[in-house]
């Protein structure tokens, strides 16, 4: 593999890192920090897209960091799923950074917002790219600590209350994950995920199964599935909207990514998939029900995040229903990931604009934006309808695949749950639409602060709308021009369903499982 490809593999991790460090150097120069961050994110995105192209054209890319051969050093590896996820992460990073130019207050900016944001993206990209399970833990922690900081940055009461719950539950998840890694090492004697996949076959039953459950619980908490999602609705609406936006788009997705990786590569079969399916069903319905009783913009969206996680892991749960169905389901999951990351981020960004315009996120005190801001209304409606799966927007296609896979697999209950969740999402979106856009703005009560009267400066409006519009365009593009995305997802699903390719790319010397192929030397 060429060196440029190797460098490319590390870019999504190292470029944000370097950007963060540079921003740290220029702690007192906000302007420069902004510039560096925007440029850094753009570079990350470029590298990520380039990486995706490389993976798409020449197959799985592998890098042995430090030139130590595969099971011994740390492997950085990009298959299509990883490349897609990294590209999306970089894209959201760029969108959010541009949005931050207007949507982030000066005080937070001068207390390390940009360095931390960059580190967050670094951690997320690292999680997507690593081929080593302990390294995955490390990237999780990088991401987590950055998210802890971002969620608490500013130190307002709601932020702190939310952060406590967020941190505590995520730390429990980390502890379980770490413990599972420790025992896994004992059981299979390796940390490289491909190597684990090979070796765990000779250590079935007993601890191996239990470990799969521990991973399920640990990643489940991070992915915010039923009944372990409490941290998410408790905290996502508390930081500035732009922070919620990147959280909404990416954090739970890392958990889902880990679940996918774990249960396609290491545990491709077993009873766990049934459990995942049950969890998916409850997640779909509970999240949806939660969404319709909230009355604050971002809280509604938070519950929708949970609900839609159900869709993604539903595909994972359907994986064991035969190859064709499994492929359709996983394709749906991958496409749903693509769609969901873009749409969720965008919705939170829009909610930030709304909040900025009207000074509140409560439905009861919002209104009239259909008249006042038709463009904003359109930019909300596109991701919102996509969220609800209205065809032919981006949310429809993966849902179609998943429902079809569920029907073909004969798992009608999960299909029912998915459909119920869809209608609940639609309901919640309709509520937002009616309250925020259609309804007239209620007379502000005497004791209410009046909405911010200062009109947005043009540059700020641009910084707000540019990323929002760009993401909305992506949604439309995926919706109307779904074929390339569908094919991409399908190829990713193919790679997931046949882990041999992944394993062979990482452990080329491994002719048969066992100690024979372990005599590697640098």
């Amino acid at each position: 593999m060429s060196q440029s490809a190797e460098i490319l593999l590390l870019c999504p991790i190292l470029v944000p890192f370097l950007t963060g460090v540079l921003a740290l150097f220029f702690w007192n120069n906000r302007r420069l920090q902004r510039l560096i961050s925007v440029l850094g994110m753009a570079a990350t995105l470029a590298a990520a897209l380039f990486l995706m192209r490389t993976v798409s054209s020449t197959g799985i890319q592998v890098l042995q960091v430090g030139n130590w051969p595969a099971p011994f050093g740390i492997t950085i590896v990009a298959d299509l799923l990883s490349a897609v996820m990294v590209s999306l992460a970089a894209m959201m990073g760029l969108a959010v950074t541009v949005y931050s130019l207007a949507g982030m207050d000066a005080q937070r900016e001068s207390f390390g917002y940009y360095p931390i944001l960059n580190v967050l993206v670094m951690g997320i990209c690292g999680s997507f790219l690593t081929g080593d399970i302990f390294n995955l833990y490390v990237w999780f922690e990088v991401m987590l600590i950055a998210s802890f900081c971002l969620i608490a940055l500013g130190g307002e009461r709601a932020q702190l209350e939310g952060a406590i719950k967020y941190i505590t539950l995520n730390l429990i998840s980390s502890a379980i994950f770490l413990a599972a890694v420790g025992i896994l090492y004992r059981v299979v004697g390796t940390l490289n995920m491909a190597d684990i996949a090979v070796r765990i076959q000779s250590a079935p039953g007993g601890p191996a199964t239990t470990l799969s459950i521990m991973f399920l619980v640990a990643f489940g908490i991070k992915a915010a599935v039923f009944p372990m999602f409490f941290w998410l609705p408790a905290s996502y609406h508390t930081p500035p909207a732009v922070v919620s936006a990147i959280f909404a788009g990416l954090l739970t997705k890392v958990g889902i990514y880990a679940l996918i990786r774990m249960f396609t590569l290491i545990y491709p079969e077993g009873a766990v998939h049934v459990l995942i399916m049950v969890i998916a069903g409850f997640t779909l319905v509970c999240g949806g029900l939660g969404a319709i009783v909230q009355e604050e913009l971002r809280r509604i969206l938070s519950f929708n995040i949970i609900s839609h996680i159900g869709f993604m892991i539903m595909g994972l749960g359907l994986m064991d229903a035969g190859h064709a169905i499994g492929k359709l389901a996983l394709t749906g999951t991958v496409l749903y990931l693509i769609h969901d990351i873009i749409v969720k981020t965008n919705l939170f960004l829009v909610s930030g604009v709304i909040q900025r315009l009207q000074g509140s996120g409560r439905l009861s005190s919002l209104g009239g934006l259909y008249h006042a801001r038709p463009l904003l209304a359109l930019l909300f409606m596109i991701p919102a309808l996509s969220l609800a799966g209205v065809p032919p927007l981006s949310g429809f296609w993966p849902k179609l695949m998943l429902v079809r896979a569920g029907l073909e697999a004969g798992r009608y209950l999960i299909v029912a749950a998915a459909l119920v969740a869809s209608i609940l999402t639609l309901y919640s979106v309709v509520i937002i639409w009616e309250q925020v856009f259609w309804k007239d703005k209620p007379e502000s009560r005497v004791f209410d602060r009046s909405p911010i009267s200062d009109p947005l400066p043009r540059s700020a409006w641009l910084a707000y709308l540019l990323p929002v519009a760009a993401l909305a365009l992506c949604t439309l593009a995926i919706g109307f021009w779904v074929e390339p995305f569908s094919v991409l997802s399908e190829r990713a699903a193919d790679q997931l369903l046949d882990p041999r390719g992944y394993i062979d790319a990482i452990l080329p010397n491994l002719t048969e499982p066992g100690p024979a192929g372990l005599k590697g030397a640098p």
Binding site: Q3, E6, I7, L10, L14, F17, L18, G20, V21, L24, F25, W27, L63, Q64, V65, G66, N67
Partner: protein
């Protein structure tokens, strides 16, 4: 409350502890120690100094702003991975000098990496502890 005894003892312990921390850093590749422990010992010594005297004096003793130390540490660790790229090897492949130094043995990029860790650990510990101690 001030204590002459602590104050005086600390004045003499600080250089010694920093020296030890240095020592731990440099020989960590061959014996127990390394950037983490070294950094932690140095951090402990400045913490002690802050407890015995006050944060302002400890800041002066450290000379470098913790935040800068963090940035430099991260940058050092990062830079240590780069030489490999020049030789067409993967990021972070260790590069070593041909000659050997006493104590250190061969010089190499992993040592540079560890030095970055060392600076960073001092930086973060002091950033946290100074900020906390200044709360009072």
């Amino acid at each position: 409350m001030h204590s002459v005894i602590l104050y005086t003892a600390t004045r003499y312990m600080l250089p010694l502890l920093v020296l030890v921390s240095f020592f731990l850093l440099l020989r960590g590749h061959n014996e127990p120690g390394g950037g983490f422990v070294g950094g932690l010992v140095a951090a402990t010594s400045f913490t002690l100094y802050a407890l015995a005297h006050n944060v302002a004096k400890a800041r002066r003793a450290l000379r470098i702003d913790p935040r800068t130390l963090i940035a430099v540490g991260l940058a050092t660790a990062f830079v240590s991975g780069l030489p490999a790229l020049l030789r067409g090897e993967p990021f972070m492949t260790g590069q070593w000098t041909a000659f050997e130094l006493p104590v250190l043995g061969k010089l190499g990029t992993p040592l540079l990496f560890d030095a970055g860790v060392y600076q960073l650990v001092i930086g973060i510990s002091m950033m946290i502890i100074f900020a906390l101690a200044e709360e009072d």
